[in-house]
């Protein structure tokens, strides 16, 4: 059984390798077409034309584009993603330094979204046929019309300006120092037992997580609601009722297990947009993660950083898509027989 699971997941993951390879070529090509000279960008403004020319030679920019791509590819495989023009540091260290903040943000948001979405979906389903159902539907429509970056701004307005209970900037109160271990602040502070830092990190991450998580949750509510309605039309639910199981036992013991499948697929396929949402939400909250770095890199045309982060976004989206695909296959007995 375990072997079969690994084989299914492995096959799905292998399938994204060619897609990802094409993505790298496209992004590389697109960034080289830009009217920006990476050689000039990586030198101080006082550099002479000759120095720029030498740098171009050294960076291989005079070679044909496919040869440049080959050079980039060879270095990237070895872990060298070039140098950030903005920070004058290796791109890989600039990017990986900020990765934990974003991962922490995304995981917390996903947990909140799935929690609110599942509870909301069950409540909405339990209210079927009552006026509460249409109230709930209207509410989900309303929240769906507020994308993450608007929710972020709204929360800043509500909980940062009008009722200042949450900080709206950064990851920690100024002055707090963290003994850096994994870079995951919530985890690090728990490991060292520093409750003060943990509380501060939690207060700082609260609003960005609420913005990202709540923006994603109404879709989960809707999908779970309609999936539960479909599930309840199956004959085994009627049989369970005939066997005398209570409503609660049917819902949590039988129906939910089957109705959750579309939610799993939804989370997998929509993960990319949640991850992409960090771009603006991090910028709005000055949260020092990948998204914030990407916005800055785009504004300063820091090509190697743009390339690295774009590829991280794509790889994550592809991986979650194929995991969702694998989960759909493994959890659905109807699909598995084929």
């Amino acid at each position: 059984m375990i072997k079969a699971v690994i084989r299914v997941i492995g096959r799905r993951l292998m399938a994204i390798v060619p897609v990802f390879a094409i993505v790298t070529i496209l992004v590389f090509g697109a960034l080289r077409i830009l009217p920006v000279d990476p050689a000039q960008m990586s030198l101080p403004p006082s550099a002479t034309i000759q120095q720029v020319e030498e740098k171009r030679e050294q960076m291989g920019l005079n070679k044909p584009i496919w040869e440049q791509y080959a050079i980039w590819f060879k270095r990237a495989v070895a872990g060298d993603l070039g140098e950030s023009a903005q920070y004058r540091m290796p791109t890989s260290s600039v990017v990986f330094e900020r990765l934990p903040a974003t991962i922490e943000l995304v995981i917390c948001s996903l947990i909140l979204a799935v929690f609110v979405g599942t509870v909301g979906g069950i409540l909405l389903f339990s209210a079927r046929g009552t006026p509460f159902e249409s109230v709930g539907m209207t509410l989900t429509s309303a929240v769906m019309a507020l994308p993450d970056f608007l929710l972020a701004l709204l929360f800043i307005l509500l909980f940062g300006v009008l009722l200042p209970i949450f900080p709206v900037n950064g990851r920690l109160d100024p002055g707090l120092q963290v003994p850096a271990q994994t870079g995951f602040l919530l985890l690090d502070s728990l490991l060292t037992g520093d409750i003060g830092i943990f509380a501060s990190a939690l207060r700082h991450i609260a609003l960005p997580v609420m913005a990202l998580g709540l923006a994603f949750s109404p879709t989960i509510v809707r999908v779970l609601h309609s999936s539960l309605i479909n599930t309840y039309q199956q004959s085994y639910i009627r049989q369970a009722r005939l066997r005398g199981l209570s409503d609660r036992e049917i819902l949590f013991g039988q129906a939910l297990k089957n109705a959750i499948l579309p939610v799993v697929i939804l989370v997998g396929t929509q993960f990319g947009s949640l991850f992409g949402g960090t771009l603006l939400v991090e910028m709005i909250f000055s949260f020092p993660g990948l998204g914030n770095l990407m916005v800055k890199a785009m504004q300063t045309a820091d090509l190697s950083v743009i390339m690295a982060i774009a590829l991280i976004y794509c790889a994550t989206t592809l991986i979650f898509n194929s995991l969702a695909d694998a989960a759909a296959y493994l959890l659905n007995p109807k699909l598995r027989t084929g």
């Binding site: 309303a142 809707r222 771009l279 603006l280």
Partner: protein
């Protein structure tokens, strides 16, 4: 077949009328707006709206940090939002529908190439892709429209392709081929009418998405030029003074919310009204 007369769907009615009102605001902006959106009155900066204690009827919704009239900027912002949304959504629809019909109708290697292209496209989070495109294309209203078309055609393509596949399997389509209709004629005369309801529904939902993308791009300064009033840009400006003038931030957020909500309601209503099978969830 029983034909029953139904009252129009409530979401369709509400969404449609609100969207229609916003469209009218956009069309008649020069007549509706009390001031020119870029006129600065430096003596009246950050004036609060009329309902707060020091509000005045001269600037019903107050002014921004340069003394520009918020109401006028909101009305002209609607013009920008609607222009971008309409043009970009139509563009994305035409491009997406074209490839969806090719892929769904011909199948085989045509379908394979188009589907793989969509897959590569969808591996980018849309926000990231649209910003990357703007870096390449440069700023400007036309560039924003082009970027949205190039990002969002895949939404249409993915959903419509499977719809086309279903319609293609119908007997009447096979029959049309048998009596010698050309492929082009079958697609346009036989398949397109069947996929049209879904196309229109997706278009309405895409209008809302385009409004959001336009707002995002102008919010980060990668959208329309700075002399064109846009809601996203108003948000970015108002964020600096949000502690002194929270209304300046709240109003454009509200404008985007109402616009997107009306398009979503309209789209939901259309789906229920136009789709005879009443399929509840298609996850567009």
């Amino acid at each position: 077949m029983r034909i029953s007369f139904r009252l129009p769907d409530l979401s369709l009615l509400i969404g449609g009328s609100v969207a229609g009102l916003i469209l009218l605001c956009a069309l008649f902006a020069p007549w509706l707006a009390p001031y020119h959106p870029n006129d600065q009155e430096l003596l009246y900066i950050l004036a609060p709206p009329v309902w707060s204690a020091d509000g005045s009827a001269e600037h019903l919704l107050g002014t921004d940090s340069l003394g520009r009239d918020t109401l006028s900027r909101l009305i002209y912002g609607a013009r920008t939002a609607m222009t971008v949304a309409a043009a970009a959504s139509f563009g994305a629809m035409i491009l997406g529908a074209f490839f969806a019909h090719l892929a769904g109708y011909f199948g085989g290697w045509v379908d394979w190439i188009i589907s793989r292209t969509v897959e590569v496209w969808l591996s980018f989070p849309p926000v990231v892709l649209s910003m990357l495109l703007i870096i390449g294309l440069g700023v400007g209203t036309d560039k924003v429209i082009l970027a949205i078309v190039l990002v969002d055609w895949t939404r249409f393509c993915r959903v419509l392709r499977s719809e086309v596949q279903v319609v293609r399997g119908q007997d009447y389509v096979a029959f049309a081929r048998l009596i010698g209709f050309s492929h082009a004629r079958v697609i346009v005369k036989e398949i397109l009418p069947a996929t049209l309801p879904m196309l229109i529904t997706l278009l309405s939902l895409q209008m809302g998405i385009s409004v959001v993308v336009e707002a995002i791009l102008s919010f980060v300064g990668m959208g329309v030029p700075s002399d064109v009033p846009a809601w996203g840009q108003m948000i970015a400006d108002a964020r600096i003074d949000m502690y002194d003038a929270p209304w300046g931030l709240a109003l454009p957020i509200f404008a985007i919310f109402v616009t997107v909500l009306s398009f979503n309601l309209f789209g939901d209503g259309l789906r229920r009204t136009l789709d005879p099978r009443h399929t509840a969830n298609r996850g567009a």
